[in-house]
């Protein structure tokens, strides 16, 4: 087996069974896209055609689903999702096998797929993240028998548009849908907000099935995905459990450690001079990331600063920012909180965007590349500033790439906020278990024990020095943490590759091996 090394020093086989030839990661903007985007077959609609079918079975049969085909889903219903499981149960009943599953992410709600993997209904998985029992079964027992392909949110959109993923049937959960297939995600009893992920799928899938629990007569007035891309509509009792779809009101953490980290991060941002009129900003939904918003707001209020836009993964706090006039616009690819869902339908400055508009690097522009500031969290960060957000230090898959590599590459200033240790496990390591976001796109690490600047960013280091903000070398911080935690033993792996981590441009940044018991 021929081994190659990529730019983050990871050794990769040149060819991986079940994946194909490996293109090694060479840098954040090293791939120059060539050729045309993928195009789907033309559609045909004669006046009077009925798209509404009696049930899911009929829709699947009408789409002519066969063994070996690729089907796609989106995870906006999060832990409350009923759709993915109901479709796979139906496919199982139809005796169809060898399905390639392309999901924007997989959550705890999707654990029933384990039985479909074991029975051979599902033989391929593409996702941004895996958690819980599915992740454990893949990491420890390699139940899929071939690698899961992990892609970033932007990378997934890119791969679909490039034709690297050819979706035969896209299944779209529609909280509100009319009888021709116009739909939105923010009306109806199972509302989830932005339809950012299926917006891409429906444009590049050969067939599209909308599944709704709120069928309304044509014409729906607020349209996120249009009837021009929809083949069939299925009405069901419930597409999800509203209690598990979105959280209630966002509350800023009261955890003093998270607040301390957020306060330090805010000091870095303020000293860096990036918080000025017209700046743009994105923060994750984690405790410290979200708490940064609180400190920023105080500073913006005091200094009468108004930003250009915020984006995300939108949280209620970002909606408050928008409503109180701190930003001109909020771009939203997935809506985390109930207040975000409500805002999307009524505030014209709250803009629904596709995952492609958000972060596809092979577009003529994307929102991630317009960011001034990105606040990220991490499960590990190494002395080269590489970030892991996908696996734990035990080697187990337990997270997601999400949009981290996309926004880190695009943003002018990327700040990682993380505790220096979790339980007794140090977060700063010599080498992260899995490289998800390359260190060359990460600028500053903020922990409760100190701030470290990537040596690549001498400009930021100088600014922080002159502002009197103390920093440490990341190796010093690592040693300081290890004084308290000791150095953990390294995890033992088998040879089998259970995951391939694609960078957003389709190159491979790392692989995940099966954990040895």
């Amino acid at each position: 087996m021929e081994i190659i090394k990529n730019k983050v020093n990871r050794e990769l086989p040149k060819y991986i069974e079940g994946y194909g030839e490996v293109k090694p990661y060479k840098g954040p903007f090293s791939v120059q896209p060539q050729g045309k985007k993928y195009a789907v077959n033309k559609g045909f609609y004669k006046p009077g055609t009925q798209k509404l079918v009696n049930n899911l079975k009929e829709a699947i049969e009408n789409c002519n689903l066969k063994d070996g085909m690729t089907i796609s889903f989106h995870h906006h219903l999060r832990n409350g999702d009923y759709v993915l499981n109901m479709v796979l149960d139906e496919i199982n009943k139809l005796g169809i096998k060898n399905i390639n599953l392309v999901a924007s992410s997989l959550t705890k709600a999707h654990e029933p797929i384990i039985k479909h993997i074991k029975s051979g209904v599902i033989t391929g998985i593409n996702t941004s993240g895996l958690r819980g029992t599915i992740a454990k079964e893949i990491s420890k027992n390699n139940i899929l028998g071939k690698p899961v392909i992990f892609r970033t949110h932007g990378g997934r959109a890119r791969a679909i548009e490039a034709g690297e993923i050819k979706i035969d049937i896209a299944f779209v959960a529609a909280p509100t849908c009319d009888n021709l297939g116009n739909m939105n995600g923010y009306e109806g009893k199972s509302a989830f907000g932005s339809m950012g992920y299926p917006m891409v799928d429906v444009k590049f899938a050969d067939k599209v099935v909308a599944i709704t629990d709120n069928l309304v007569p044509f014409p729906l007035k607020n349209i996120s995905i249009s009837m021009t891309d929809i083949d069939y509509i299925v009405e069901v009792e419930e597409i999800g459990n509203p209690e598990q779809i979105a959280t209630g009101a966002t509350r800023i953490t009261k955890n003093p450690q998270e607040l301390l980290i957020a306060e330090k991060a805010s000091e870095v941002l303020i000293a860096s001079g990036v918080i000025k009129n017209g700046f743009s900003f994105q923060a994750g939904s984690g405790g410290s990331s979200l708490a940064v918003c609180r400190f920023l707001k105080e500073y913006m209020k005091k200094n009468e600063i108004k930003g250009s836009f915020a984006s995300g993964g939108a949280t209620g706090y970002l909606v408050e920012f928008l409503e109180e006039g701190y930003f001109e616009a909020l771009f939203d690819t997935q809506s985390f909180d109930t207040s975000v869902i409500e805002s999307l339908g009524k505030n014209s400055n709250h803009i629904e965007m596709s995952a492609s508009m958000y972060a596809n690097p092979h577009n003529k522009a994307c929102i991630a590349h317009q960011l001034d500031i990105m606040i990220l969290s991490a499960t590990e960060i190494d002395i080269d500033f590489n970030i892991n957000s996908l696996t734990g230090s035990t080697g187990m898959i337990m997270g997601a790439q999400g949009g981290a590599p996309d926004t880190a590459a695009g943003s002018k200033l990327t700040v990682v906020v993380a505790p220096s240790m979790r339980k007794r496990i140090p977060i700063v390591t010599d080498k992260v278990t899995t490289v998800v976001t390359p260190g060359e796109t990460v600028d500053v690490l903020v922990t409760e024990r100190g701030i470290c600047v990537n040596p690549r960013r001498k400009d930021i280091q100088e600014i922080l020095n002159s502002s009197g903000i103390k920093t440490k070398k990341i190796k010093e911080l690592k040693e300081e943490i290890e004084q308290l935690t000791g150095k953990p033993e390294s995890t033992q792996y088998l040879d089998e590759i259970v995951g391939i981590v694609e960078y957003r441009d389709g190159t491979v940044i790392d692989i995940i091996k099966q954990v040895k018991e």
């Binding site: 003093p256 450690q257 607040l259 024990r449 308290l484």
Partner: protein, 299 residues
């Protein structure tokens, strides 16, 4: 006179309480920026966990670099079975500041002083290195405040504990604090007479931030050097209120500089901007400069 114009001592604006049996807090408490941390071996620790907490804290003292944060332990009273052991284990591990809970009489300080001297000698530690914070929490203690403060040179600060004080007085503790005003004043006065720091009681209503700010302002006005706190969120609020204004700092810097140049400690008299400046004014100016340095406004 000399004592007033000595080099500025370290600032004790905030004393954060933290249980001594929580490994996370042992590694974290000093990171929140308080001037002092008090690891509690007394009320916060169950009887069954006293030994384990003491051992854990001793290991933390040997291992963790607490940087510039002044570390205290609230040790158990010496009349309990745990107090003496706290001293015998923690001083060799590196503890140099201990808060003696429920100090009612100067004899209790003297008893601790004798024990500390013995332990220091036993372990080759310079005699007098270990300092004491006397915690005054009863009417008897308040009555004896000055004698307690003067009972030993080791006493560097004196704190007031309102909860036990009101309990032993038979009063309800209110947010307004009329019932503790006299006691607080007596602690401040005794500390001032002895030339040591007075530290005010905790504010337990975490959600009432405005009430807390008012109490901190009253602490400063009364002459307290700092305030005990029970949550990291209180630290910055206290520090902000303790930070002098730019005008105060500028004025004080001129006075302190003039005093230094005039060698005031040896009896000089100075004039600043046409005004005669006396010792109390210099002392206040030194305090302002010390607080400004502690808050990072000046270096």
């Amino acid at each position: 006179m000399g004592k007033i114009t000595k080099q500025p001592k370290r600032s004790r604006r905030t004393m954060l309480f933290s249980p001594a049996n929580n490994p996370k807090m042992l590694t974290m408490a000093h990171l929140y920026g308080s001037d002092c941390v008090i690891f509690d071996l007394e009320d916060a620790i169950k009887y069954s966990e006293k030994d384990a907490a003491r051992d854990l804290f001793a290991e933390a003292l040997k291992t963790i670099d607490y940087g510039e944060t002044e570390i205290f332990a609230r040790i158990n009273p010496l009349y309990t079975e745990f107090g003496e052991k706290d001293v015998r284990v923690l001083v060799p591990a590196g503890l140099r500041n201990m808060r003696l809970a429920m100090t009612d009489t100067p004899e209790q300080i003297k008893e601790l002083d004798i024990l500390l001297t013995e332990v220091e000698k036993e372990h080759g530690i310079k005699v007098g290195s270990c300092k004491i914070q006397a915690s005054l929490e009863t009417p008897t203690a308040i009555k004896n405040a000055y004698e307690i403060a003067k009972a030993s040179d080791r006493v560097v600060t004196m704190s007031f504990g309102a909860e036990d004080f009101t309990r032993t007085l038979g009063a309800e503790r209110t947010k307004e604090g009329k019932e503790i005003f006299v006691a607080r004043s007596m602690v401040v006065m005794a500390a001032a007479m002895a030339g040591i720091d007075a530290i005010d009681t905790v504010w337990a209503h975490l959600a009432d931030i405005e009430g807390f700010k008012e109490e901190v302002k009253s602490s400063i006005n009364m002459g307290f050097s700092g305030k005990s706190c029970i949550h990291p969120s209180q630290i910055k609020i206290i520090h902000n209120i303790f930070t002098p204004t730019e005008e105060e700092i500028a004025k004080s810097l001129v006075i302190v500089k003039a005093a230094e140049e005039a060698d005031i400690e040896n009896g000089g008299v100075i004039q600043v901007n046409g005004k005669m400046i006396d010792i109390p004014v210099i002392s206040k100016a030194q305090k302002v400069v010390r607080l400004a340095k502690a808050s990072g406004v000046i270096k």
